[in-house]
C-alpha cells in the first residue's frame, strides 16, 4: 500500500535518504530502526512531504505522493505522529483531537468514542490545554489526534521516547490493538529492539541514509542489532 523505490530525499542539496526502496503491505506493522541521524525521521517526513525535495518513486495506495502537497497526503489517510509529539500547546485536548478530523474527506467533525476508551485520561482532561499535559499524556493525545482522521496508516516516530515506563507499555499495547483489531497499517520508528521484534511483520534498518538490512520480524537478530543499532 505504501511503496518507495530508488527514493532520494533532500534537505537543501544534501541527499539525506539515498536509494531507499521498501514496500509496506496493508495491515502490517513495519519497524524502521537505526542509530541516531541515519534518516529514520527523515523517512517519515519524506512520506509526509516535509523535506525539500525527492527523487525516485513514492506512492500510497497506487497514488503518486511525489508531487502531492502535504495537506493532500494527510487527506489520503496518512496519520503522522511526529517525534516530540507536536501537539498544539494552546489548544485544549478537545481542539487538538478535533484538528485530526480536518484531514477527513467526509467532512465529519465528531470525535470517535473509541479514542477515549483507548486513552481514558484524555476524556478526563478534555478541557485542559495541550501544553499543560505530561509527555506521556501528550503522546496519547498525538495518537488520538491521528486516530480522529480515521487513518489508513499511522506513521509513528519514536512514540515511547522519553515517557514513563507504565505509559510506554500502554502505548505499545494500543499500537498493537490498532493494528490487530482495526486493521490500521503501522510504520514505526523505534529504538526498542524487543518491541520491534515482537510487534513487526517486517523491519528496515537504515544506516547513513540507505537501507542496510530488511526482513521479517523474526529475522531481526541480535547480530543485526549489535551491528547497526548499538553505539
Amino acid at each position: 500500500m505504501l511503496e518507495a523505490s530508488a527514493l532520494f530525499s533532500y534537505y537543501g542539496k544534501s541527499p539525506i535518504l539515498q536509494d531507499v526502496s521498501f514496500r509496506v503491505e496493508q495491515g502490517s506493522i513495519v519497524s524502521i530502526l537505526g542509530r541516531n541521524g541515519v534518516g529514520k525521521t527523515t523517512l517519515l517526513r519524506t512520506i509526509m512531504g516535509l523535506t525539500d525535495g525527492i527523487a525516485g518513486n513514492l506512492s500510497f495506495g497506487g497514488k503518486d505522493l511525489g508531487r502531492m502537497r502535504t495537506c493532500d497526503r494527510g487527506r489520503l489517510g496518512i496519520g503522522y505522529i511526529p517525534q516530540g509529539r507536536e501537539i498544539i500547546p494552546r489548544f485544549t485536548v478537545r481542539e487538538n483531537i478535533l484538528m485530526g478530523t480536518y484531514a477527513r474527506t467526509d467532512g465529519k467533525r465528531t470525535l470517535p468514542d473509541y479514542i477515549f476508551e483507548l486513552f481514558p485520561i484524555l476524556k478526563e482532561f478534555i478541557g485542559r490545554r495541550g501544553g499543560d499535559l505530561s509527555g506521556g499524556q501528550q503522546q496519547q493525545l498525538a495518537i488520538a489526534r491521528a486516530l480522529a482522521m480515521d487513518p489508513k496508516v499511522l506513521l509513528l516516530d519514536e512514540p515511547t521516547e522519553g515517557i514513563q515506563p507504565n505509559i510506554v507499555r500502554q502505548i505499545e499495547d494500543v499500537i498493537l490493538r490498532l493494528n490487530r483489531e482495526m486493521g490500521i497499517t503501522i510504520v514505526l520508528v523505534e529504538q526498542n529492539v524487543p518491541f520491534a521484534r515482537r510487534a513487526s511483520d517486517q523491519f528496515i534498518v537504515l544506516d547513513k541514509g540507505r537501507v542496510a538490512v530488511a526482513g521479517t520480524g523474526e529475522e531481526l537478530t541480535d547480530e543485526i542489532a549489535d551491528e547497526f543499532l548499538t553505539f
Binding site: R69, T70, C71, D72, I88, R104
Partner: protein, 289 residues
C-alpha cells in the same frame, strides 16, 4: 473639567478606529509574521471606496460597509496571492515589498482620483449629539465605539468559535503539523490576510466623516496601529483592544495637556518606556511552546 471629558471622548472614538485598523494588522502579523506596511493603504482604499460609493451611487457609509469590506478584502487577497505569499520564508523582504505596494496604491489613487481632499458625509440617522452635563458626544462617535466593539467581538468569535479560526490558530502555532492534518495553510493565510485588509477598509470608511480623505491618510493611522500592536502584545485580542484604548486616550489627553506635536512626542516616549520594561507588550503570550 468638561473640556477634559470631551477630549477623553474624542480619544475614545479615535481609539475605536484604531482598534479596527490594529486588529487586522495584529491578525496578519500574528498569523504570518508579515509586517504589512501596506495596511495604511488598505485603510485609505476603504475611505476612497466610501467616497466613491457615496458620490457616484449615493450610498451612505453604513449601507456601503459590507461592500467596502468585500472590496478591500479582495484587494488584500490579490496582494497576498500576488506578492506576499512568495515571501513567507523571507520575513524581512515582506516589509520592503508591502511598503512598495503601499506606495504603488497611493500613487494609483493619486493618479486616478487626484490628490485633493475628499469629504464624505456622515449618515444622517447618526446626526445629533448626546449631552451629559457639559460633555457633548456626537451620536456618530458613540456609534463608532459600539461598532468597533462589535467588530472585536466578531473577530473573537471568528477566531475561537469557527472552523476557520481554529485552523488559523493551529497554523499560527504549528504550520507543519497543521498541513499534515489536511489544513491548507496557503488558503488560511490568504483568507486571514483578506480579513485583515477588509477590517482596515471598514475602518477607513468609518473614519471619513472625521478626517478628510487623501491618498496619504493611511500613513499616520498605521503608525498608531503598529504602536497598538506593540503595546498590546502580539497574538492577543484583549491586548489589542486595551492598547487601542490606551494609545487613543493617551494621544488625546497629551495633546490636550500640551499641544498636538508635543502630545505625540509624549505618547512615543511613554511607549518606549513601556517597551523597555515590558518588551512583550502588556498581554504577552505566556504558554511555553
Amino acid at each position: 473639567m468638561d473640556v477634559f471629558f470631551n477630549q477623553a471622548f474624542a480619544g475614545l472614538s479615535m481609539a475605536s478606529i484604531l482598534l479596527m485598523v490594529a486588529l487586522g494588522l495584529a491578525i496578519i502579523y500574528g498569523a504570518m509574521g508579515v509586517i504589512n506596511l501596506a495596511h495604511g493603504e488598505f485603510v485609505m482604499l476603504g475611505a476612497y471606496s466610501a467616497w466613491l460609493l457615496q458620490s457616484y451611487l449615493g450610498l451612505g457609509i453604513l449601507a456601503s460597509l459590507p461592500l467596502i469590506f468585500l472590496m478591500v478584502g479582495l484587494i488584500g487577497l490579490a496582494v497576498e496571492r500576488g506578492v506576499v505569499r512568495w515571501l513567507y520564508h523571507r520575513p524581512l523582504d515582506t516589509i520592503l515589498a508591502t511598503w512598495g505596494i503601499g506606495i504603488v496604491l497611493q500613487q494609483l489613487v493619486r493618479m486616478g482620483v487626484g490628490s485633493d481632499s475628499r469629504y464624505v458625509a456622515r449618515p444622517t440617522i447618526l446626526d445629533g449629539n448626546v449631552a451629559i452635563g457639559g460633555v457633548v458626544m456626537s451620536n456618530y462617535r458613540i456609534f463608532l465605539v459600539f461598532f468597533s466593539l462589535s467588530v472585536l467581538a466578531a473577530t473573537w468569535y471568528l477566531l475561537t468559535r469557527t472552523e476557520f479560526g481554529t485552523k488559523l490558530r493551529a497554523v499560527i502555532q504549528n504550520k507543519e503539523i497543521s498541513e499534515c492534518y489536511g489544513i491548507r495553510t496557503d488558503r488560511i493565510y490568504a483568507l486571514a490576510f483578506a480579513y485583515g485588509a477588509g477590517l482596515a477598509g471598514i475602518a477607513g470608511a468609518l473614519v471619513t466623516p472625521l478626517v478628510s480623505v487623501t491618498p496619504g491618510m493611511g500613513t499616520y493611522l498605521v503608525v498608531d496601529a503598529f504602536l497598538v500592536v506593540i503595546v498590546g502584545g502580539v497574538g492577543s485580542l484583549l491586548g489589542t483592544a486595551v492598547a487601542s484604548g490606551l494609545v487613543g486616550e493617551a494621544t488625546a489627553l497629551f495633546s490636550f495637556l500640551m499641544n498636538d506635536t508635543l502630545g505625540r512626542v509624549a505618547v512615543l516616549l511613554a511607549i518606549i518606556m513601556l517597551i523597555r520594561f515590558k518588551p512583550q507588550g502588556l498581554f504577552p503570550d505566556k504558554v511555553r511552546r
